[in-house]
């Protein structure tokens, strides 16, 4: 039976994907589980695995093309199997949707063989087909979408995933037609930290398709070349998300300057005794934020239609700059971790963020985010809130400045931070008290290690 290869929804926000590369050519033999292609989603690059075996008979979406979730991008079938109907249907839908080759939405799945007639009075739901192994399914790329791009998951699985902040799209489904069921979410929750990174590193050259008018500019000519940089999936998501934020979320901003002298001294003392896992300034900031959030739970909150949700966890997003965008890996339960654990975990997350090896659940569901542009010599800046978080802290560089201390001018190491607050959730004084605590933490850093 022919196996359809579709543009799967690989993250909850993914609406379309770009085909980076086909790993196999038409006519190549395919085993179930083989890597067929690489797809750029809005967050990471991911492999498409074969769900069935045979021969890759047709490639319907070529490399470099973007296609909506659910589009039929290829067909695996036996060498002599007639797949004309599938191809015709795919093309018809492509024409109907006006999207050209890349706009096709896949036809409904080919009819599964009829389930065996029940030998009993059981009124059946369609039984799983022979293609669905009764035993534990292989861990494969998510396949729980039908041709319509809809993620198949049982209601309770959806509910559990939502409550635990895990992305359904990253979970292989073991139910009929790949439906994600309760046990799959339970397994994902058990193995999430140890899961193999599903994303692959992004090749350096992809992501920006530069069409330059000339390879080299003539001498004496303009020093810049005009370029059209196609939106990457990540750029589209950044744009959409930030517009969603600055539009409906009423931001206000609070700035304060913090004396970092004692914090830096403490860091130096700590690191003098450490061979590895040295504590960075960033780790101190994460720790201070986590401690301050515990003391001001009204900041660790989200606006919802009917209520403000105060989170029972402190999950800190860390904005990490990438070549062509940014991503915010999440340091979970930061309030329950010491500086050393924060240092080790945040470093790992940031490294894997830069190599695009984060799993969806590793960059979703933060309760508060820190963005630090100090390394770019930025004194201070304002950041845009990442909903549904209620605040984001923008951190500038630490530099020596002259300050007046008890009537005397002194040179001190100072750092400016600006918190953007969602005014629906956080009022001015609430935000100010949070920043006051944060500042006191860093200026009396021993409090943090209590």
């Amino acid at each position: 039976m022919a196996t359809k290869v579709v543009m799967a929804q690989l993250s909850p926000t993914m609406e379309e994907g770009k085909l980076i590369e086909w790993k196999l050519a038409e006519g190549d033999a395919v085993q179930p589980g083989d890597i067929l292609a690489e797809i750029e989603t809005d967050k990471a690059n991911m492999d498409v695995e074969a769900m069935g075996g045979g021969v890759l008979r047709a490639i319907l979406v070529t490399a470099g093309t973007t296609a909506p979730v659910g589009t039929l991008i290829g067909v695996i079938a036996d060498p002599d199997e007639n797949i004309d109907a599938l191809l015709t249907e795919a093309r018809a839908e492509a024409v109907a949707s006006g999207g050209g080759a890349s706009g096709a939405s896949a036809p409904t799945q080919p009819a599964a063989p009829a389930p065996p007639a029940p030998a009993s009075a059981v009124i059946p739901e369609p039984a799983p087909t022979a293609a669905q192994p009764a035993a534990a399914p292989p861990v494969a790329a998510p396949r729980s979408t039908d041709g319509d791009g809809r993620l198949r998951a049982s209601p309770v699985a959806r509910r559990m995933a939502e409550q635990s902040g895990i992305a359904l799209a990253g979970i292989p489904g073991s139910g009929p037609a790949g439906r994600i069921v309760k046990r799959d979410v339970e397994a994902a929750l058990r193995t999430a930290p140890a899961a193999q990174a599903a994303a692959r590193a992004l090749p350096e050259s992809t992501g920006t398709a530069v069409s330059a008018p000339a390879a080299t500019a003539p001498s004496g000519g303009p020093r810049l070349v005009e370029a059209v940089i196609e939106h990457s999936q990540m750029r589209k998501t950044i744009a959409r998300r930030l517009v969603e934020s600055i539009g409906p979320v009423p931001h206000f901003f609070l700035t304060t300057e913090i004396d970092m002298g004692r914090a830096l001294d403490m860091r130096a003392e700590l690191n003098a005794g450490l061979e590895q896992g040295k504590v960075g300034v960033n780790d101190l900031l994460l720790k201070a934020v986590a401690e301050a959030l515990v003391r001001h739970p009204e900041v660790n909150a989200s606006w919802e239609d009917q209520a403000i949700r105060r989170h029972g966890r402190v999950d800190l997003g860390m904005a990490v700059a990438l070549e062509d965008g940014l991503i915010t890996p999440v340091l979970r339960n930061a309030d329950r971790k010491g500086l050393e654990a924060i240092s080790v975990e945040s470093r790992d997350l940031i490294e894997r963020a830069r190599s695009r090896k984060l799993l969806p659940e590793e960059y979703m569901g933060a309760t508060f985010t820190i963005s630090n542009l100090g390394m770019f010599e930025i004194d201070e800046f304002t950041a845009v809130i990442n909903p549904p978080e209620a605040a984001i802290l923008a951190v500038g560089r630490t530099e020596e400045r002259v300050v007046v201390v008890e009537g005397q001018m002194e040179v001190r190491k100072r750092m400016r931070v600006t918190m953007s607050c969602d005014h629906r959730v956080i009022d001015g004084a609430v935000g100010a008290r949070f920043l006051e605590t944060f500042k006191a933490m860093l200026e009396n850093p021993l409090v943090m290690v209590l």
Binding site: P118, S120, V122, I123, P124, P155, A157, K182
Partner: protein, 332 residues
Amino acid sequence: MAVITYREALNQALREEMDRDDRVFLIGEEVGVYDGAYKVSKGLLEDFGEWRVRDTPIAEHGFSGMGVGAAMVGLRPVVEIMTWNFAHLAFDQIVNHAAKLYGMSGGQFNIPVVFRGPGGAALQLGAQHSQAPEQWYANVPGLKVCSPATPADAKGLLKSAIRDDDPVVFVEGERLYNMKGEVPDGDHLTPIGVAAVARPGSDVTIVTYSKMVQTSLAAAETLASEDGIDVEVIDLRTIRPLDVDMVLDSVRKTNRAVVVEEATPFAAVGAQVVDDIQREAFDFLDAPIARVAGLDVPMPYARNLEKLVFPQPQFVVEAVRHVCYRDRPAVV
């Protein structure tokens, strides 16, 4: 607590209620001299006399109407239907009179009548004598429908039914009459409209009633030993009014449900239960709700065919495995 049969439990209920309230009387075919076709009324004629235990001609419509009329004027009749298969002749009295008169008289007449008798398939009694009637009467506003699965509930529910001011259709399990079980001593009452947990469990909820409770409990044992699946069995006990809350509480806990009934599947009690669950507990479901019911055919007489039509424990086992996504490949 005494261990007695379901039949004896019903007899005790009748005897106790006739002792307690002299407005209570029993009427029906062969309930007196013959002690009842199934001996449920054994000894009652001797003890209460022919004014209280009345043999009638074979005329269901007539003596059911007498019951309704007696209830209208203040008595509390128990009308024995020899088996519910014969009650079709009395359908007009039960549905058009007993169920309607309270409302149509503007509340002037309560109809405290109990229609009781055995229902469901026994063994090789053919299409006309193998019917489970609960769903037909449960479709009628104005009727209450009870269907006890144990001796304790047979006694407790029948006593509650006799004391109830509304008409009650009381369906006993013909195959349950010899079932033995503990029955609490004293004035034991089971409330109408309250289900019971027949077996607590955590992985899947079976909702069922009457003799399918035994079938489901047997299936639960198989599933526990062969699959490690921990089944909760809910015995509805009363079909109308239905104890939806207990069903929902269980499904919210287990996330999976199988509804088991002996009757034919179309527009059945099980369909109603599925509807309640999907509307009220949608977000808690891990799988579409499965149903096990009799096949949608007149019951065949042939023994081998009857076994295919009538729900067997193995059918329940397979349905539970299915909703747990634990189907086994068919053995060829």
